[in-house]
């Protein structure tokens, strides 16, 4: 069993420390409503927003409309499962110290500290008495948290909440909606549940549903609670990939992390081949003495008490090895770190310990801990019925029940709204038996401005719209004329996947004139049903709930208007659509160069799929926009094809701009049934081999420095001129070429992996070298330099390169039988200035390699024959290889081989 502490006394000591830290860290801040401060809203309206956000009417009753639309406080019936009771009590006792900027008032500010604590305690018992609770902490997954950090900063969370430094410090806390210490407040599980359906506990929708996948929510939750510490035996991180390259390799990625009971692989669930596990923990040594550790594994690294005891590089081409190592250990907690590589032939892991009073055996969980310091165990609060009953009374007495009205606790009324005096009570600085909000002077002045008129003057449409956009902080992501938009310091957190689209590819679209732009149907779809077209934006469109923002659809449409664009009466719809079809395609305006079309990706910028344009857009806006895109998106990349009203394609529809735009509209109205425009798909462009050899170079399946040769006998090869390696053989048609790229056609492909041709293996365990993503100087660092090629009379190339001071020339000849079958004879000429140390040539690789004789091998479908006197060997592995040991004398040596398939 892991060691932990859990007495009630410790609980309060620890929480007291947390509370004290809160108090020291921040003198209580003003009520934080960043949208209010940032926006250009009229001050009186700002006051009204505050009155609604603080729900003044909960106590100070009013019949006016603002009363019903005010923000409802969080629902409390489930709070015992949602929130850590320690946090709850600390928060109740001193809300603005525990969560600076919170909108919840301090209703006990007039009480002495010991009374406050008693009230907070009984309220906590009351709230936890409402239901059976299942709150408890889970260990964070550091790997998921790393993803979560990226998601938190890109999906839109930081539009309202503060972005954080790598260490977790809030960078913009003065202009953000506060979160408080989430790792103290929530468990991983309760935070995930909250994020999945925030409106269940917060029905007023200020915290929107971000429409994220369960996995993304979990990752964000792991990030937000990453400082949570729970007791446990052993921490681990699991990696997958080409683990023999080391854990820092590009080809290895961390997959998950957390806690595990012991070093038994089975405790981690199913462990796949090519996995590495990094264990970290402390072992409790109860008898001083000499300890021996026994390991069976392919490779790994064991460190005990800071001493490296076993270090064995893994190899994918080897059996498990056995290790035995000893160390003297004294009584106490000793750090143990073990990295285990699950790779090679028949991988398995045995890890035993033997010492004084401990016969050889795996280390049990009870001797292990993730920390050498005690970590408190969370113990659920045992509800005291008497305290809970008292808490219920206080819940009514202190007015909690007025805002948190879901518990059906009756509360006495306060002064009616109409009789409020802005210089007294909650709006004053004086302390008394009223809620304390910590309002700033400016916030108070806004409320004072709004008080006299809040009940009298109904809001007009524009005021309602603006107020809603501020209340839900829409302007944190969207620009709207007269209100503001994305704060410059947050702009960097808006990112996208299509760099070529510039700002349009990363910023949510502006809301200026949006009511004159979008159809009501599409707007409702976006606002209320998660409709989304701009898949390239990393931010998601949050959902605030129909009852909260549903009215925006009609308000936008009512309030926004633009001038009417000149439109021509349609005479011949078919002619119009046909002109539209022509203009969309490559022979017209080439709209499809940038825009996706009917699910087909554009090869360029990847702008919005235009077949949906007429479902989303109002026709008048479409006309105005096409004439002058920069008017609506000053930094957009959409060009105008009608500059100054003049068409750049005067030959279509007589150059009549209005008719041309109308034609595009008419054509796009066919939506997903629209006829495919010309130039839509990338047309294959075959390079045929006739009577002479053809060569093409460039970006290809064998690398960016691909080199393909098609021979007249109908066989082809691809070589990588970066790594000097033969990468592919195939029969039949040669390649499709495009600008700077080629793709092999044909059939019967033999594919070889990337890697250099010659190498001095240190041992037969060593992996054959190839270029990894970050091996920047490879293969120059192995002595290679490509030097080009020359052509013979049949235009067959001889490749030239150097391996150290050896000058290498390679020539492939296509040998034809006349019966249609053909194969390659490969001649490698090596010219050495001096005798060379032995090295290997990798002649072929495959899944299954059979040695028929020292000079004949079958490698999957390939038959390899060594013609010159250079017998080869087979090295098993994945892939298996035919290696030819080379000892090179001074002067020229010729290696010749035959490849038949």
């Amino acid at each position: 069993m892991s060691h932990s502490i859990s007495t009630p006394f410790c609980r309060w000591v620890l929480f007291g420390i947390f509370l004290l830290a809160c108090l020291l860290a921040s003198a209580s801040a003003d009520v934080a409503l960043p949208a209010l401060a940032a926006s250009q809203l009229d001050p009186g309206l700002k006051g009204l927003v505050l009155i609604e956000e603080l729900h003044c009417a909960a106590c100070h009753t009013s019949d006016a409309p603002f009363s019903t639309r005010s923000k409802k406080a969080p629902r409390l019936s489930d709070i015992g499962s949602r929130v850590n009771p320690d946090y709850l009590q600390a928060f109740l006792q001193n809300p603005h110290a525990v969560k600076p900027g919170a909108t919840m008032p301090d209703v006990f500010s007039h009480l002495p500290e010991n009374q406050k604590r008693e009230v907070a305690q009984s309220l906590t018992h009351f709230l936890l008495s409402l239901k059976t609770n299942d709150f408890g902490f889970q260990a964070p997954d550091a790997v998921a948290a790393k993803h979560g950090e990226r998601l938190f900063h890109s999906r839109g969370c930081v539009a309202c909440h503060s972005p954080r430094s790598g260490q977790g410090a809030e960078l913009l806390n003065s202009s953000s909606v506060p979160l408080g210490a989430l790792d103290k407040k929530y468990s991983f599980k309760s935070l995930v549940e909250f994020l999945q359906n925030p409106h269940a506990s917060r029905p007023s929708g200020r915290m929107p549903d971000m429409r994220l996948s369960r996995q993304d929510i979990e990752r964000i939750a792991h990030y937000l609670i990453r400082d949570t510490r729970v007791p446990g035996p052993l921490a681990y991180t699991l990696f997958r990939g080409q683990v023999w390259e080391g854990l820092r390799s590009d080809e290895v990625r961390p997959e998950r992390a957390g806690m595990v009971a012991d070093f038994n692989l089975a405790s981690l669930g199913r462990v796949e081949h090519h996995t590495a596990i990094q264990y970290e923990g402390w072992i409790n040594i109860s008898n001083t003495g000499h300890y021996t550790f026994y390991l069976e594994m392919n490779g790994g690294l064991l460190t005990l008490d800071g001493k490296r005891l076993v270090e064995e590089d893994p190899s994918d081409r080897r059996e498990v090895k056995t290790f035995e190592t000893s160390i003297d250990l004294s009584v106490g907690w000793r750090k143990i770190e073990l990295t285990y590589f699950h790779t090679g032939y028949d991988p398995r892991f045995v890890f035993d310990m033997e010492g004084p009073g401990f016969p050889r055996h795996p280390i049990p969980s009870s001797m292990l801990s993730v920390s050498n310091e005690p970590i408190p165990t969370f113990k659920p609060l045992e509800v005291n019925p008497a305290l809970a009953a008292l808490g219920r009374e206080q819940f009514a007495k202190f007015g909690c029940a007025r805002c948190h009205d879901d518990l059906s606790v009756a509360a006495p009324p306060a002064t009616t709204f109409a009789k409020l005096n802005p210089s007294r009570g909650c709006l004053s600085d004086s302390v008394g038996p009223w809620p304390r909000f910590d309002l700033s002077q400016q916030q108070r002045s806004w409320i004072a401005l709004a008080l006299p008129t809040a009940e009298q003057q109904p809001l007009d449409d524009l005021q309602t719209l603006n107020k809603t956009l501020i209340t839900f902080n829409c302007i944190a992501c969207h620009q709207r004329k007269g209100l503001g938009g994305i704060a410059p310091e947050r702009s960097v957190y808006f990112t996208g996947t299509h760099e070529a689209l510039g700002d349009q590819g990363r910023l949510p679209p502006p809301l200026t004139d949006v009511g004159a732009k979008l159809t009501a149907t599409w707007m409702a779809d976006v606002l209320l049903h998660g409709g989304r077209q701009r898949e390239y934006l990393n931010t998601s469109m949050p959902q605030f709930g129909e009852s909260n923002v549903g009215h925006l659809v009609s308000l936008f449409n009512k309030l926004d208007s633009l001038e009417t664009a000149p439109v021509r009466v349609v005479t011949d719809l078919r002619e119009l659509k046909s002109a539209g079809h022509e203009m969309i395609g490559v022979n017209g305006l080439s709209c499809i160069a940038c825009h996706d079309f009917n699910g087909q990706k554009s090869t360029g910028a990847g702008a919005l799929d235009i077949v949906h344009a007429t479902e989303r857009l109002q026709k008048n806006w479409f006309h105005l926009y096409l004439r002058e895109p920069a008017r609506f998106y000053p930094t957009g990349i959409m060009p105008t094809y009608w500059p100054g009203g003049q068409s750049v394609r005067p030959n279509i529809l007589g150059g009549d701009s209005a008719r041309q735009i109308e034609a595009l509209w008419a054509y796009l109205e066919d939506g997903t049934h629209a006829k495919n425009p010309i130039g839509l798909s990338r047309q294959a462009r075959e390079l045929r081999v006739t009577d002479v050899t053809e060569i093409c170079r460039g970006q290809s399946p064998v690398g960016y420095r691909g080199f393909a040769v098609g021979y007249p006998s109908g066989i082809n090869l691809a070589f990588d001129s970066e790594q000097m390696s033969l990468r592919m053989l195939w029969k039949g048609e040669f390649v499709d070429v495009d600008l700077g790229t080629f793709h092999p056609r044909g059939q019967e492909r033999i594919v070889f992996p990337s890697g250099i041709p010659f190498h001095r293996l240190k041992s037969l365990d060593e992996n054959w070298p190839y270029k990894g993503k970050t091996s920047y100087t490879f293969p120059k660092d192995h002595g290679y330099q490509f030097r080009g090629y020359y052509l013979d009379a049949h235009r067959k190339p001889t490749l030239m390169y150097r391996y150290g001071d050896i000058v290498v020339e390679e020539y492939f000849d296509d040998i034809s039988q006349g019966n249609g079958s053909a194969w390659f004879q490969r001649t490698i000429r090596l010219d050495a200035p001096d005798t060379q140390l032995p090295f290997y040539f990798r002649a072929a690789t495959g899944k299954s390699v059979m040695k028929k004789s020292g000079r004949e091998f079958s490698v999957d479908q390939l038959q390899l024959r060594i013609i010159s006197d250079h017998p080869g060997i087979v090295r098993e592995g994945n892939p298996a290889e035919v290696l030819i040991p080379i000892t090179l004398p001074k002067g020229a040596t010729t290696l010749s081989l035959e490849y038949q398939w």
């Binding site: 760099e499 080439s590 930094t635 060009p639 990338r682 053809e694 690398g703 970066e722 600008l739 020359y790």
Partner: protein
């Protein structure tokens, strides 16, 4: 016999060096007038030739050589005839995209995306048979990683400008650097900090420059001095200093959201762009350039640089001078209305300017409508009334003209409208023009021959583009300027 490949269909790879960030923008509106002096002539391209010109060279026998995106090198006879009578000959094939050609000692040295390669016809049949790779020692593993090469310098080196892996990052060795490749195949890194460079070439003093594109850390397109050891503005390529023996990374990185004037003092290796091309006013994706050494055959602009623009299909001029050891100068509108997106330009032995390029269906908008073209700008011998060149003085500027000005008019200070502005030096994409000022012209003194005017200003603003508008200026014959605008980039103010 080498097969000629037919061309049709859609092109693929994104080549445009800049991201266009606004609409194409209004034309200068001067094309009709320009045509009176510099008519445009089309060089016909046979239907079977897949011609997407990426680079030009003139052969000793007077033929035009064209390197293409498809990886071919064509030799064209008769391209400079009036009217053109081109005959196309395929010299070499199969390379990656060719964005640099330079003929030397009987071989063509080509810069492709993957390497610098020397191509030779050793058996004299007119078709290349030896392809010697001089260097392929830069990283090339992503689609955006373009390479543009220069002509041979006097030592026989070819300079190569290597674009970043996209706009923001450098993932592979030396992306964002300029390197030079020696005749014996060594690669010497020269300077870091490029973003998405285009053509590489010399100014009149033989100093090497490269075109840079607007984008992150670049408020507008520019000509940048490839100075040994310099850092040219985009810090993504800092990561390759450990791979350059004897060169140390600058001690600090530039701050974003700053000004060049501030950062060049912090980062001592930072060399500001020599000539800035205000976005849209002066192109959107300048691409290739050549120095005019025609000895007057191309009109009154000898020793000036001529540049093509990809997006706006136009040609501009630039002049340069070295002040306090730093290169700077001005750019001027020259000719608009070309048929396609220009990638490369070259002067012919007859003093014509050959321009060529392409559009693709998969990239940024281009004003020219032809999918590809080779065109020629000829000078018909008539001299347009133009600002020939602007020089900076310690307290103002000297403007020279191609014809004498109306001296009485030219002495009025109010006909010179000079505004200044700069860009935000930032990691975000591009920049608006900021920190605008208006210069007060204190005195305007025309020379006795009327071919120049000295302007005395209340102040010259360092690190600002000085935007000249001489709308009301006329020649002594009452002729208005063909182009009223010019833009001088002040990096340094002369000390005397």
């Amino acid at each position: 016999m080498v097969t000629l490949r037919s061309i049709f269909g859609v092109l693929a790879l994104v080549v445009a060096p800049t991201l266009a960030a606004e609409e194409l923008g209004a034309m200068w509106g001067t094309a009709q007038e320009e045509a009176k002096y510099y008519p445009i002539v089309n060089i016909p391209i046979p239907q079977e030739v897949p011609m997407r010109p990426g680079s030009f060279e003139i052969l000793p026998d007077g033929r035009l050589a064209v390197g293409t995106r498809r990886g071919d090198i064509y030799f064209i006879k008769g391209a400079f005839e009036i009217p053109p009578a081109p005959e196309y000959h395929l010299f070499a094939t199969g390379q990656d995209e060719v964005f640099g050609l330079s003929w030397k000692d009987g071989s063509m040295t080509a810069t492709t995306f993957s390497e610098v390669i020397r191509v030779t016809d050793t058996d004299g049949d007119g078709v290349a048979d030896r392809y010697e790779t001089l260097s392929n020692n830069w990283g090339y593993a992503e689609g955006h990683e373009f390479a543009f090469g220069s002509k041979h310098d006097p030592e026989g080196n070819v300079w190569v400008a290597l674009g970043l892996s996209g706009s923001y990052e450098s993932h592979n060795l030396f992306r964002g650097w300029a390197v030079k490749v020696t005749p014996d195949g060594r690669m010497i890194p020269v300077c870091s900090g490029l973003r998405s460079p285009g053509g590489v070439g010399t100014n009149a003093a033989g100093v090497m420059f490269a075109i840079e594109s607007q984008g992150p850390w670049n408020g507008c397109c520019s000509l940048k001095h490839l100075k040994q050891g310099a850092f040219l503005g985009h810090p993504a390529s800092y990561n390759w200093y450990p791979f350059v023996p004897g060169m140390k990374a600058p001690a600090v990185e530039p701050n974003s959201n700053s000004r060049m004037a501030v950062e060049k003092r912090r980062v001592k290796e930072l060399v500001p762009p020599a000539v800035c091309f205000p976005y849209i006013k002066m192109g959107r994706s300048i691409s290739g350039f050549r120095l005019n050494r025609t000895g007057g055959k191309f009109g009154p602009f000898d020793d000036q640089i001529f540049l093509g623009d990809y997006t706006l299909s136009l040609v501009m001029r630039a002049t340069m001078e070295e002040v306090n050891g730093v290169w700077q100068g001005a750019c001027y509108p020259f000719r608009e209305g070309l048929a396609t997106g220009l990638m490369t330009v070259e002067f012919t032995p007859k003093g014509q300017l050959i321009v060529g390029g392409f559009t693709t269906t998969s990239q940024w908008p281009v004003r020219g409508t032809e999918p590809f073209a080779i065109q020629r700008i000829d000078w018909n011998g008539r001299v347009p009334f133009e600002m020939r060149e602007i020089h900076i003085l310690k307290d103002g500027f000297k403007i020279t003209f191609t014809k004498p000005v109306d001296r009485e008019l030219a002495a009025h200070t109010d006909i010179y409208n000079i505004t200044t502005y700069t860009h935000i030096y930032q990691g975000d994409y591009g920049s608006p023009e900021v920190d605008q000022t208006t210069a007060e012209v204190m005195a305007a003194t025309p020379s006795a021959d009327g071919l120049s005017v000295v302007l005395q200003l209340n102040a010259i603003v360092e690190d600002h583009i000085h935007d000249f508008d001489l709308a009301r200026m006329t020649s002594q014959d009452g002729e208005p300027l063909l182009h009223r605008k010019a833009y001088y980039t002040v990096n340094e103010i002369p000390k005397n």
